[in-house]
């Protein structure tokens, strides 16, 4: 993760990594008691997650305030794939129950499907997640495409 988003890492984390002091943080990690460190997130990634958690808490988990400042905010391909599939399940459930979905929800479902195509990169011939603010594709191939 840190390799992909190095430019977005907070200054204090980049400094710890540069000076190799992030290793100190590793001494307090409980997850490495169960698996070797090389099989878990790097210390830099773990620090980034800790930082995100602090920011969310400071903003009282208010979604609008969280995305207002976009550090780490991306439009994630895997998340949207699962959302699109969940939407189609929801439509089927509503049909089976003979219930009508609220119009704004139907609109939102259509929007998810149509905007999905914007994640397609015709040059690489694959889908990518993209930056939430700039809409720039994050061109790192992973299992997500």
């Amino acid at each position: 993760m840190s390799e992909l988003h190095d430019h977005l890492l907070p200054f204090w984390i980049r400094s710890l990594r540069k000076t190799r002091l992030d290793v100190v943080f590793g001494w307090f990690r409980s997850d490495v008691k169960y698996a070797p460190l090389e099989q878990r997130e790097s210390n830099t990634d773990a620090l980034a997650l800790y930082d995100i958690q602090r920011r969310f808490r400071r903003k009282q988990y208010d979604f609008d305030r969280i995305i207002n400042h976009s550090l780490f905010a991306i439009e994630d391909l895997t998340f949207n794939s699962i959302l699109a599939r969940a939407n189609s399940h929801l439509v089927e459930i509503a049909k089976a129950l003979r219930e009508e979905l609220p119009p704004e929800l139907v609109e939102s479902i259509k929007k998810t499907e149509s905007t999905f195509e914007q994640l397609w990169d015709p040059i690489s011939n694959e889908y990518f997640s993209r930056d939430f603010v700039t809409h720039r594709p994050l061109k790192q191939t992973s299992i997500a495409p």
Partner: protein
């Protein structure tokens, strides 16, 4: 993963399936690696940097079936269950050797193994 969404055209789905077939991208001995083999970030035991995860394989198998790629889905299902049969309910696996990594007795590996067997 977009295969799972079900909102792709068949043409797009075919392009993605070709990536799964390629032994230089997503088709090692034990597919599907979380990062392609030809990526500079690929690490067969690095956390989400290459290993095979049972939950993502489950999503891909479902997506393949949805688009009618049943042979691909069957092959992936078989290799996924082979990993579990050989090594147990580990968190993730090395896509090159099949060796387990992370923690043992991982609940979603166990839960999805039951689903894949039925």
């Amino acid at each position: 993963m977009p295969l799972y969404s079900g909102v792709l055209t068949k043409d797009r789905a075919e392009i993605l399936v070709k990536m799964l077939e390629s032994e230089h991208i997503f088709g090692p001995a034990y597919p599907v690696p979380s990062v392609p083999l030809n990526s500079p970030w690929f690490n067969p035991v690095g956390y989400w940097q290459g290993p095979v995860w049972i939950n993502t394989n489950w999503l891909i198998i479902d997506g393949l079936r949805r688009y009618g790629f049943n042979k691909h889905a069957d092959a992936l299902q078989e290799s996924t269950l082979e990993l579990i049969e050989k090594y147990g309910f580990y968190e993730y696996f090395n896509p090159l050797t099949g060796e387990p990594a992370g923690v043992d007795n991982f609940s979603w590996t166990a839960a999805l193994a039951i689903d894949l067997m039925h």
